[in-house]
Amino acid sequence: MAIYKKQHLHKQDYIPKSSFRKHLTRYWQLYAMMILPLIYFIVFKYIPMFGNVLAFRRYRPGMGPFGVKWVGFRYFKMFMQDSAFWNAFGNTIILSLLNLLINFPIPIIFAILINEVRNVHFKKAVQTVSYMPRFISTVVVIAILGEILSPSSGLLNNFLQSTFGIEPIYFMNDAKYFRKLYILTDTWQYTGWTAIIYLAAITGINSDLFEAAKIDGANRLQQIFYVTIPSIMPTIMVLLILNVGRMLSLGFEKVLLMYTPSNSGVSDIIDTLVYRTGLANQNYSYATAIGLFSGIIGVILVSSSNAISKKLTDEGIY
């Protein structure tokens, strides 16, 4: 018992290297707990990673997840010469850049404004309601959108027609509106939710700073520009860099739900291309190659932006 106790009082990192057996007798239960989760990680996270070799191998249905014959970069060369790929690639970049440009600043502005609301109950009510869309399924979001924009019975077209006499517009079918609708629904769904992090940062600002600014005669707008924004700048920077890193991982399911033949020119992104060539047309190896390519770009983006973030702000996700 005494040994037991002594080891525990020197808990963190005080275990002599030689006594692995002792370590195991004491901690075996912790290792036992991890067995099932570790098997899960190996099977469901790491085996699919190795499944990416399919991009270099020919696959025949029923042959298991690793293919049958090495073909080198054949599938990579194929998609590099495929105009559908470059179209999807361009659409992905444009859509994610637009999304970043618009939906990155809006939650910051929202957080700053909601922080200026003085009535606590009203503030709480706005917050509660603004998080809500985050909990709604993409299917529901797009279904509601379709109803509101419906040319025959939708709220918006009715309003436009009765007030301005505008003929019904087929919003969901018109390629012109696809990007706007994609970005707007993202704003609707995630503004309140993303603002939580900025609000937490604003709450952490030392109130002396505001007092000092007030004494110096700063009005509320000046306080926002000279105190609030500079104080949350580190948070903004970290999130900006992380968002750049995650740029290519767009909401694939939403694009799939909004996809119609008439907007396919702008709505085909890399993920939908993978889905279409892989699962619908069963070109497994070809689709894996495209998926692997965009996955690697994603990893490069994440790790380089994380490295920049660590250098600039000492913060990162890993």
């Binding site: 099932l36 989760p37 909990f135 990893v299």
Partner: protein
């Protein structure tokens, strides 16, 4: 303080209140509209009289979907996936998070790297699909549950929470002869209710809203309600035809709205109760994690 409230400040307040009321409306109007359409008279819908307030009261749309056997089946499936999936996820995540919260555990750093790496690099759609089908999970309900047993983001939230529990409590229990399984079950889990509620809510929302995995892995009678809804919206489901009358199209609109309302209501009802937890959980996970 009164002296500080200049005219400019009051104007500022008014502008902010206007913006906030606009935000409130934008978030609420779509739901109110769906609710209004789902319970209005068909005639009013045809004449485009329905905006945010229902015109007349008519529960025909709800009667129709409740009479449709596949709706109940899909709804039941969703409840099953949500309850069982969340339970599995909570258990598996806890079992991994607890050992990983102990720095003195050998290999802890290695396992953490294993987890974090898998957050940024994954098999992608096709390798995952082929794995599930070669494990013969396609066409079984396991395909909706097992592949999502651990979400790495939730895992990290929980690890951070476990780290914040004072060591002294566990040490006392160890001296009293309790093993780590006992400590986890009797001390750590009860102390971690806020964190478990947070990731439980995230997970439940994920399972409730999932449809894509159902689309690629399941048979029709195993479909969750969101996939059922998608098929109605796409017109690939026969539900609209059930009406079979002159104003079929109109009724189809009310039916869509009724499905939207019924499939969304449980989440909307659940989340205010857990809200106080998840705000804390999110800030722990993202700022510190």
């Amino acid at each position: 303080m009164k002296a500080c409230r200049s005219k400019g400040s009051i104007v500022f307040d008014v502008i902010i209140y206007i913006i906030m009321i606009f935000v409130l409306l934008v978030c609420l109007v779509p739901f109110l509209y769906m609710l209004a359409v789902s319970i209005s008279e068909p005639k009013a819908i045809i004449n485009n009289e329905v905006a945010l307030i229902p015109v007349g009261i008519n529960f025909e749309a709800y009667k129709q979907i409740f009479a449709y056997p596949n709706f109940f089946k899909a709804y039941g499936n969703t409840i099953f996936y949500t309850v069982v999936g969340t339970l599995i996820a909570l258990i598996m995540t806890t079992l991994f998070a607890y050992p990983l919260s102990k720095k003195s555990l050998r290999g802890q750093k290695f396992f953490m790297k294993l987890v974090v790496f898998s957050m940024f690099f994954s098999g992608g759609l096709i390798p995952n699909y082929l794995l599930i089908s070669s494990l013969n999970l396609t066409g079984t309900r396991f395909a909706m549950l097992v592949p999502f047993a651990i979400n790495q983001f939730n895992l990290i939230i929980l690890i951070n929470f476990f780290k914040s529990i004072p060591n002294e409590i566990e040490e006392a229990a160890l001296i009293d002869g309790l093993g780590y399984f006992g400590i986890l079950r009797r001390i750590v889990v009860p102390l971690s209710k806020p964190a478990l509620a947070t990731i439980g809510l995230y997970t439940a929302v994920f399972f409730w809203n999932d449809w894509f995995n159902g689309l690629i892995y399941l048979n029709t009678d195993q479909f969750p309600v969101m996939l059922f809804l998608r098929n109605i919206v796409n017109g690939t489901s026969m539900l609209g035809d059930a009406a079979g009358s002159a104003d079929k199209a109109t009724i189809a609109i009310s039916i869509k709205s009724a499905v939207i309302i019924t499939s969304t209501l449980p989440i909307i009802i659940l989340y205010p109760f857990l809200q106080k937890y998840f705000v804390k959980g999110l800030t722990i996970g993202s700022v510190k994690g």
